[in-house]
Amino acid sequence: MRQNSMTPEWEIDDFAKTWLLQHADGFRSGTLWLATKPPKTEVYEVAKIYRDLHDGGFSGTDSAYYDATHVPGFLDYLKGSPYEREVFDGVAEMADINTRQGTNFPAWPKEAFGVGFDDSFMLGFANACYVAVKMR
């Protein structure tokens, strides 16, 4: 479509802008973490978070749960910040969910932490790892 003075303009709303700025903040924070020479395995694991959730995952509104024992340095790095991850007993939690729902979902890792599709900062953080791993 040719544009002219009558072309409708895109209006970025506050929600989208906040989302993008948080993503950029997370990305910046991710690059700072990468500069601390974290273990390679952790960088790859964190990059997977972006791979899993950048488009919301399977449902578009997924949360994903990861093994905290694989990324101790990453979790330490976030400690004390507003983005600190809560580590919980994924086996007990899923057993409880299955009991309440009458389902039979496989357990999460024993020491688990979660990231949601709407956690823009964390996705930005993981995106920095993804870009660094993919493009270097």
Binding site: R2, Q3, F15, L20, L34, K40, R51
Partner: protein
């Protein structure tokens, strides 16, 4: 290129090389340039076209590694914004017929029928700035 399917040995530290720092920095610059562009009353048609570019070039898509020759006249606002933001070096406008002639010379006559617009510029997901720009736009559209 590294892949996420192959994990490195345990214990090794991640070497955040100068080239990887440069690429992540360029990606973030692209991301921020995309936000600034969308804040500058960008035309919907251009925003949607950049989001489409992301859809077709994101990891795993068939055009992931292709260079896309975009019609400069369809992206006048984007180009003006990128030039105003100091990224003119990245958005060089070329004459379509001259690009086609170069391809014919370098790669053969199969490009004789290549239908290129009169004025073009390139975008590719392999360029981290372009990737960051397109990602920001796609995220904003996705809501």
């Amino acid at each position: 290129m590294s892949t996420l399917a192959t994990l490195p040995p345990r214990g090794a530290a991640f070497d955040f090389t100068i080239s990887a720092r440069k690429l992540t920095s360029e990606y973030l610059q692209g991301f921020q340039a995309g936000i600034a562009w969308m804040e500058s009353s960008a035309p919907i048609a251009e925003v949607e076209a950049i989001a489409d570019f992301y859809e077709h070039t994101r990891a795993g898509q068939s055009h992931e590694e292709a260079t896309h020759y975009q019609d400069a006249d369809r992206f006048l606002h984007l180009l003006a914004s990128m030039h105003a933001q100091g990224h003119s070096r990245r958005f060089v406008i070329e004459v379509g017929s001259e690009v086609r002639a170069e391809f014919i010379r370098d790669y053969g006559p199969q490009f004789l029928t290549w239908d290129l617009p009169g004025r073009v510029f390139t975008m590719t997901a392999l360029d981290s700035f372009d990737d960051g720009l397109a990602t920001a736009v796609w995220q904003a559209i996705r809501g």
